[in-house]
Symmetry: C2
Subunit: 197 residues, 2 copies
């Protein structure tokens, strides 16, 4: 009934995070209907990404050049490195526009359940930079989850011997956060870290 | 920070139904990470669909050939035509495997709000087939919504003068449906159309 081509596209779209088998079918029909306005540009955009986007050899960011535009930006402070789990986190930090150092993308978190040990983390390059004395401060910006905090403490331990400053992000009430809707852990953290006015 | 290529892909993916701006970002990162196992096959599948899939000139179905494999299947009964709103509905009916006639894809429903009048519906080809005496029975399988039922009655009116049989799908309790969870309209329809055992 449906051509194999359509089934193939549905099954590949169904593997994209955010889409399931039903929505992949809907997306496929939509793309076929909007052939010229959506399918063709989407193919072109994917090919552009495929040919032009590379992983930065230094920090693990994605960019059209390697080293990426952050690592090759001389105005940024390369002695300050912010460790993030994923590129999406790097983008979020860049969006905020407050951090002007370099990044280091881990690519994952320590997780006993998923079998991710210290070797699987992309830490060696960072430790080498630290050993060479290029890095004076590290900000560990990992998620406040069990895995995130385990990884955070592991990295802090690794960095201890080099005598550099190691920070983590402040915990507290988010902007726009109403106390009534916040979890107990966040409120506890906000009270512990209370600040004088 | 992100290359233009990545932003472009995110914004195009965000227009796919089922994905929004956030999930498009996640999908983009996922596709870049799984370059060889997902991005490359996806591009290829999209190109295959683009070059090979066409709309059937007779019924409006999508297939690699025109007329589609349903319209060109001599074993199917071309005197019985099932009218559906969309190709997804045609697929659903084919999946059930009970209908062995031809289809006619409307491509929309009458809707005063969306400004879709009778001219926007793909009805002429069907009416021509009916006028030529090729069609003896029509099953209108449109959704049980206000627009669906309006369109259903409009089509039934158009077909009245040709003296062919016009059916609609039975309404009642769905298989696996528990009465407690069904809406009143469905229960009313099921009682009205009660059947002797």
């Amino acid at each position: 009934m449906k051509g194999n081509e359509i089934d193939q596209l549905i099954s590949l779209l169904a593997r994209v995070p955010g889409l399931g088998p039903r929505s992949a079918k809907r997306a496929t029909l939509h793309l076929i209907k909007k052939r010229d306005s959506q399918l063709v540009p989407l193919i072109r955009a994917m090919q552009d990404v495929l040919t032009n986007v590379k992983t930065c050899n230094i920090c693990g960011n994605l960019d059209t050049k390697d080293p990426c535009s952050i690592c090759s930006d001389l105005k940024r402070d390369q002695s300050s490195v912010c460790i993030v789990q994923d590129i999406a986190d790097l983008w979020a930090l860049e969006r905020s526009g407050t951090f002007k150092g370099h990044y280091h993308v881990l690519g994952g978190l320590l997780s006993a359940i998923d079998g991710i040990g210290p070797e699987e983390l992309n830490l060696d390059k960072l430790l080498n930079k630290v050993k060479e004395g290029k890095v004076l401060e590290v900000i560990i910006a990992l998620p406040v989850t069990v895995e995130g905090q385990t990884t955070c403490h592991y990295i802090a331990d690794c960095l201890k011997e080099y005598g550099i400053k190691v920070y983590t992000l402040a915990q507290g009430v988010p902007v726009g956060g109403e106390l009534d809707y916040l979890d107990d852990g966040t409120i506890q953290a906000a009270i512990k870290a209370k600040k004088a006015l």
